[in-house]
Symmetry: C2
Subunit: 376 residues, 2 copies
């Protein structure tokens, strides 16, 4: 598997141009690009440029509607339900978190549940929005079913990530994790790299453990059965029912509170139906917000400074690796898998962006990528 | 390991009498007994009668203060911080959740964070209180450090359970899970039974995997190092950082928001400092509460009815096993480990309850139990 390195500015410019050509206005293109770039800058390769093909195909097939007008269908000072009407996930989730932040600043706590949306990138982006505003942020999203419930063999729940971000020094607490052992994006990376999957990640169509990324992904797309295990594996002894439970918590805030489409029914027949849950909590409604952040910072420092296991030199707190990744990628650039570059080339050609200007000779090569054959 | 079976009524009466003799008033004894009984009725052996010794020792050593007067130190229509002043955990958490329910009924959402409390039993009890009131409930608690953060060798975070309960038919969604692979209570059961621990559960004092429950528990008590792995194990490949992250989410709502004692500092020198986080969400602030519960019920039914893995006959949704357990235990009684009975006998003798009337010949035997030698 080979990688090509590009500067963050280069990829940012590419995304802005491509999404503008698709028809998004400047503000919308900026939001979408920011979400994608934050993922690659944070080292979450699965949700950065690697995800572009999903948006390309989603727009092409009409799952993502550029002219959608998201609508607040229920609202109180602490809550809102938004019907996205098939809008681009990033755009409506950004708006939803802005609403949650505004409400939490006034009312202390706010939850916004969004239905009929699309894939919104990394959940952590929206949690971070609240954190950047001095609040505690939460974000989660359901998605096409990929998690097999404990004792099942059919994927019924999405990878259903839940993210939390909270103010702390020297950097915020930033926790963003799928409730499956790994994400579909990770399987796609293994597939593109033609590497066998680690044990305890995935199940084949009969509900048996599998190391074959290609087979698992094909079965997921064809809805043949199998999928990814919940965090905790596939047996109760290792806590499978706990990861499955966290997947349900995500489902509740996204698809249940909004009366939206649950993971087992979304992303079929070119309709997404994906739902998001967003929340903001104002720490000033619990006391001195600065003192609370300082108290949290102290505990985070104690964790980092606690004794290391033999052979380990560092204990990370959540968000620390991301800070290091941003510094590295701003200095050394972002590595993009050649297969992903080929998807970007195809996307550029589709909307009429000069692929050669961005990718040189790679723009000329035959498209022999393992283009994701999903139903979007 | 041998067990003795008692009726729920018998154990309920014992707990009521013992806690009354300790000096709790009727309402308080009722709450404490209810929390303990719900645990045993739900089949959560680790947190029922098995936990009595902890309360016995906690009261004896002054960690739990019977005359404590919990105090609301910060309050808004959506939030409260309570200083428990070393009160019995069940009593103050019950009061905290009543406050959260009252606020959520009026304001839509409420979070209550409690500091300087004690072990409060199963988190799910408090989440269920909100659910019984037609709301969605959350409860979490920090506890004496037992979770070793990823790449560490010293326990820094408690088992930090988080529970959620939400209205659904034919029974509510009830999810109550430690953010460690298993709880300390499970290790205590293996220790009493002198069984080796399964792999991927615990670490010895050097941060290496261990199957020795006795050694791990001794190290935890002596704060020598080691402890239990986060949900997801001890390496990132299986998601260790995710369970560790969930432990931090629990810590945030319990010890951070309340400016209380973090897990790494609680339960030392006969001071508990344990903190709880409680939340209630009113679904009517998101639309038609009945329709939302019905929507959730549909998804839960679809999960139960989805295809089973080869060799499995049932997919459970969270709360289903508990409903079955209650029916079984009300009919067939509750099995109590003989070692636990011996602890109950000692407790009865300590407060002047007629142990022989409750436990017959077991009240006469020498106390050769593996009485938990914790620092409470």
């Amino acid at each position: 598997m080979s990688y090509v390195t590009y500067s963050a500015e280069h990829l940012d410019k590419f995304c802005m141009e491509v999404f503008s050509k698709f028809g998004f206005n400047d503000e919308e293109a900026r939001i979408i690009t920011d979400v994608l770039m934050l993922s690659d800058l944070y080292g979450i390769e699965s949700h950065g440029m690697q995800r572009l093909v999903r948006y390309h195909k989603g727009i092409e097939k009409g799952m993502i509607k550029l002219d959608a007008k998201p609508e607040i269908v229920f609202e109180t000072p602490v809550s809102a339900v938004i019907d996205a009407h098939d809008a681009m996930g990033q755009v409506v989730a950004h708006r939803g978190m802005e609403l949650a932040i505004e409400k939490a600043k006034k009312s202390g706590i706010a939850i916004v549940s969004i239905k009929n949306s699309n894939h919104f990138g990394i959940a952590g982006y929206y949690a971070k929005m609240a954190c950047d505003a001095g609040l505690v942020g939460f974000a989660c999203t359901n998605s096409e079913a990929i998690m097999v419930p404990t004792f099942g063999k059919k994927a019924m729940i999405g990878s259903n990530p839940i993210a939390m971000a909270a103010p702390a020094k020297p950097y915020p607490f930033f926790f963003d994790a799928s409730t499956t052992v790994v994400t579909r994006g990770k399987l796609e990376i293994y597939n593109k790299a033609e590497k066998p999957l680690p044990d305890s990640w995935a199940l084949n169509k009969d509900g048996h453990p599998s190391n074959d990324a290609s087979d698992v992904l094909k079965n997921i797309v064809a809805k043949n059965g199998g999928g990814i295990m919940p965090l905790g594996g596939s047996v109760e002894q290792t806590g499978s029912h706990k990861g499955y439970g966290w997947g349900m918590v995500c489902e509740f805030f996204s698809s249940i509170l909004s009366m939206g489409t649950t993971s087992n029914k979304c992303c079929v027949n070119n309709v997404s139906g994906i739902c998001h849950g967003l929340a903001a909590i104002n720490p000033a409604f619990f006391g001195d917000a600065d003192a609370i952040a300082e108290h949290f910072s102290t505990f985070l420092a104690e964790l980092r400074e606690s004794p290391k296991a033999d052979g380990q030199s560092q204990i990370y707190t959540h968000g620390e690796k991301e800070i290091a990744a941003v510094a590295d990628r701003k200095k050394n650039g972002i590595k993009v898998n050649v297969n992903t570059v080929r998807e970007m080339v195809e996307m550029a050609k589709f909307v009429g962006v000069d692929a050669k200007a961005y990718f040189g000779d790679l723009a000329d090569s035959d498209n022999n990528s393992k283009m994701f054959a999903g139903n979007y």
